[in-house]
């Protein structure tokens, strides 16, 4: 069924409702999308300045090719595409409605004789309608019926609803867009790195570099990585705990492909980093001593000595000896960096107090990298995807089939007409039609 030219000939309307525009937009989207797979995406502008010539850099900047799938012109194309789809659908709707409202019981016998599939019998005897009517549609005895041309017309119709398939299919694209928009306005995405034992109640948004509070805290209790005997990684695993007001409310071990979800926010295992850890011993003059464990990326404060400490660098072997570079800040914020070699002592003076500092041990701990996201639009996207597949199945595989049976009289003879039509899969319908034809023939007893 193809709607022919509409009464509405407004050129703007005609432009936006044309399949020609849809084809043009599909080709344009296909061709332009290539750019973003060749030009690296999402790098800072300086990167492109270094990599490309000046002219090309200007093009990249103006057309936002550094993030082209979110550039104004690309989103514009998608917007135009949606508009095209909506207008096209609206234009088509009246045709579909007219088709669905068409009264298939008011056809004349003359029309039936012009159907793509038809057969006509003539017999002298009386014909028992109740005997042949069930043959029309798999033993169904109650069929819609009307009086036409002085005879009885029976109708068996299947799959009329399938005309909605195309609407389901096309609107599914819009539903997916709606889901994506919902996600980008009402959701967020970011990353966090957590040391074992560390917790956080906020994340940093990936693109806008702003802080987003989670509304609860997430803690990494342990991270582990295991390997196959080939050396390839087998599993990355983080033991996470969710804390509300300091109380554990949920614990889960996550691996790649199995995230933790809490209050609409999901935590995915995305990366990890091995973090060196050293133990440093502080000897006071009076003989008391203290051992402090320092991890990279972490500050430790030691209130008793009014010191803040950190590990800057760790070398497992410096001329055969483990070495660590540590960083100390006193209460006034004055900082110093010290190299410690295992087995050697360093003297450090703060105010009037003197410490001797030594490196006594090193170990390794991990920092887990989590991708964090909230996307309230994802269910809309899945709904759209489901509609797309269903719509597709209906458009291509559910036919609208109609069969008519007319029984009337003419010049003392009984005339029986079987007629049918389908909008797809003609070959299959033809076979079925032929079967009905034979069944009727054997009841009528005439050719």
């Amino acid at each position: 069924m193809k709607p022919s030219s509409s009464k509405n000939t407004n050129p703007v309307w005609a432009f936006f409702s044309s399949v020609r525009l849809a084809v043009f937009l599909l080709i344009t989207l296909a061709v332009t999308s290539i750019a973003g797979t060749i030009i690296p995406q999402g790098q800072p502008l300086d990167f492109y300045k270094d990599q490309f010539s000046h002219t090309f850099f200007q093009i990249i900047r103006v057309l936002q090719l550094n993030d082209m799938y979110h550039a104004w012109w690309y989103l514009g194309l998608l917007g135009l595409f949606s508009l095209n789809l909506i207008v096209c659908t609206v234009k088509r709707l009246p045709f579909t409605l007219r088709l669905l409202r068409k009264d298939n019981l008011s056809l004349t016998s003359h029309r039936l004789r012009k159907m793509p599939f038809r057969h006509e019998w003539k017999t002298r005897g009386k014909v028992d309608a109740s005997a042949i009517k069930p043959l029309l549609e798999a033993g169904k005895t109650r069929l819609p019926e009307s009086q036409v041309d002085g005879g009885r017309l029976f109708l068996a119709e299947k799959g009329k609803w399938s005309h909605w398939g195309l609407y389901i299919l096309h609107s599914s694209i819009l539903v997916i867009f709606a889901g994506a928009l919902t996600g980008s306005f009402a959701g967020f995405k970011g990353n966090i790195m957590l040391l074992e034992g560390e917790s956080t109640d906020h994340i940093v948004d990936a693109s806008r570099s702003k802080q987003i509070p989670l509304g609860f805290s997430i803690r990494c209790d342990k991270f582990s990585v295991s390997f196959y005997d080939t050396g390839a990684p087998r599993e990355f695993k983080s033991d996470l705990a969710v804390l509300e007001g300091g109380n554990e409310v949920l614990k889960k071990s996550i691996v790649v492909n199995d995230p933790l979800e809490y209050k609409g926010i999901s935590f995915y295992q995305s990366s990890y980093q091995a973090v060196p850890q050293v133990t440093v011993r502080f000897h006071r003059k009076d003989g008391t001593r203290e051992d402090i464990v320092l991890s990279a990326f972490q500050r430790i404060s030691w209130p008793a000595a009014r010191l803040t400490l950190g590990l800057m660098q760790y070398l497992p072997s410096f001329n055969g000896v483990p070495a660590a570079r540590i960083w100390l800040a006193d209460s006034e914020g004055k900082t110093r960096a010290l190299w410690l070699l295992k087995g050697n002592e360093k003297i450090y003076t703060q105010d009037d107090e003197q410490f001797s500092i030594s490196l006594i041990g090193a170990s390794q701990s991990y920092m887990t990298g989590l991708q964090v996201k909230k996307d309230p639009g994802v269910w809309i996207v899945w709904l759209g995807c489901t509609l797309l597949i269903f719509g597709f199945g209906i458009v291509f595989w559910v036919p609208h089939q109609t069969k008519w049976l007319w029984i009337g009289e003419k010049d003392g003879n009984t005339i029986v007409i079987l007629a049918g039509q389908t909008n797809k899969n003609k070959i299959h319908f033809e076979k079925e039609f032929h079967k009905t034809e034979q069944a009727i023939e054997s009841v009528l007893g005439v050719k």
């Binding site: 193809k2 399949v19 020609r20 849809a22 084809v23 599909l26 080709i27 989207l29 296909a30 999308s33 290539i34 973003g36 797979t37 060749i38 995406q41 799938y69 994506a180 995405k189 196959y228 080939t230 390839a232 990684p233 087998r234 599993e235 990355f236 691996v255 790649v256 492909n257 199995d258 995230p259 999901s266 995915y268 295992q269 995305s270 991708q371 964090v372 996201k373 994802v378 996207v381 899945w382 995807c385 797309l388 597949i389 597709f392 199945g393 291509f396």
Partner: protein, 280 residues
Amino acid sequence: MTFSSSYLLSLVTFVYLGAAALYLIHWVFRVQKVGLLATLATYAGFAIQTSGIALRWIESHRMGYGHAPLSNLYESLVFFSWVTVLVYLFIEWKIRRREIGAFAAPFATFSMAYASFGTEDKIQPLIPALQSNWLIAHVVTCFLGYASFAIACGLGIMYLLKKDDSRGGQGILGGLPEKKLLDELVHQTIIFGFLWLSIGIITGAVWANEAWGTYWSWDPKETWSLITWFVYATALHARFVRGWAGRKIAFLSIIGFVSVIFTYFGVNFLLSGLHSYGSQ
């Protein structure tokens, strides 16, 4: 000697090569018996290939890794070839014409030859990102799409080679099916492929959402699959724009398949992204 899966699968390469040659002879010289032989060879190759894939699955379990053989380039090429033959045999059975085999069997042969001689065939354990049931759903659906598009491309080439039907069945090209049938077959295989590619993209999105927390990240492989999808969507709609029948759709079936090839290989070798582990 023991039959390892790689032995069986390299054998398949030669069986398909033979089948392709027989299909070619059948088409050019129009010998019905050779056509039957070609079909038998294809069925035999398909049977050996199926056992080879099953054996590889079992071998991976024996090694303690236990995963469906769909995880690296070698395995995906073997699977691509397998699905292509499956889809082809279905069409052959449906329309009972063997000339198309001369344009379909070579795809299966190339794919197997590349797998056997150009890639690493060791069974590798699954890296964490691939440890998901979605792997199977994603790969199977995508490859059903790719295979249909390969055959649509073969049919499109036949369409372009063939002169007008009115010239009758003269010469080598005369032996090909009528243009009207070819055109209809291109359309049908594109529809079939488009459905599976759509499901493939969707299962990929569901998986990405599960593994990385984003159903779509515009990574080059994702983007290329979308580009391919746009090309075939164009082909489906072009039918409704006057003047876009026949030749232009045949061209689109070839451009579309070039896009499939690029999605499949180009992205792994030329561009970088989340999917590049496929190039191992």
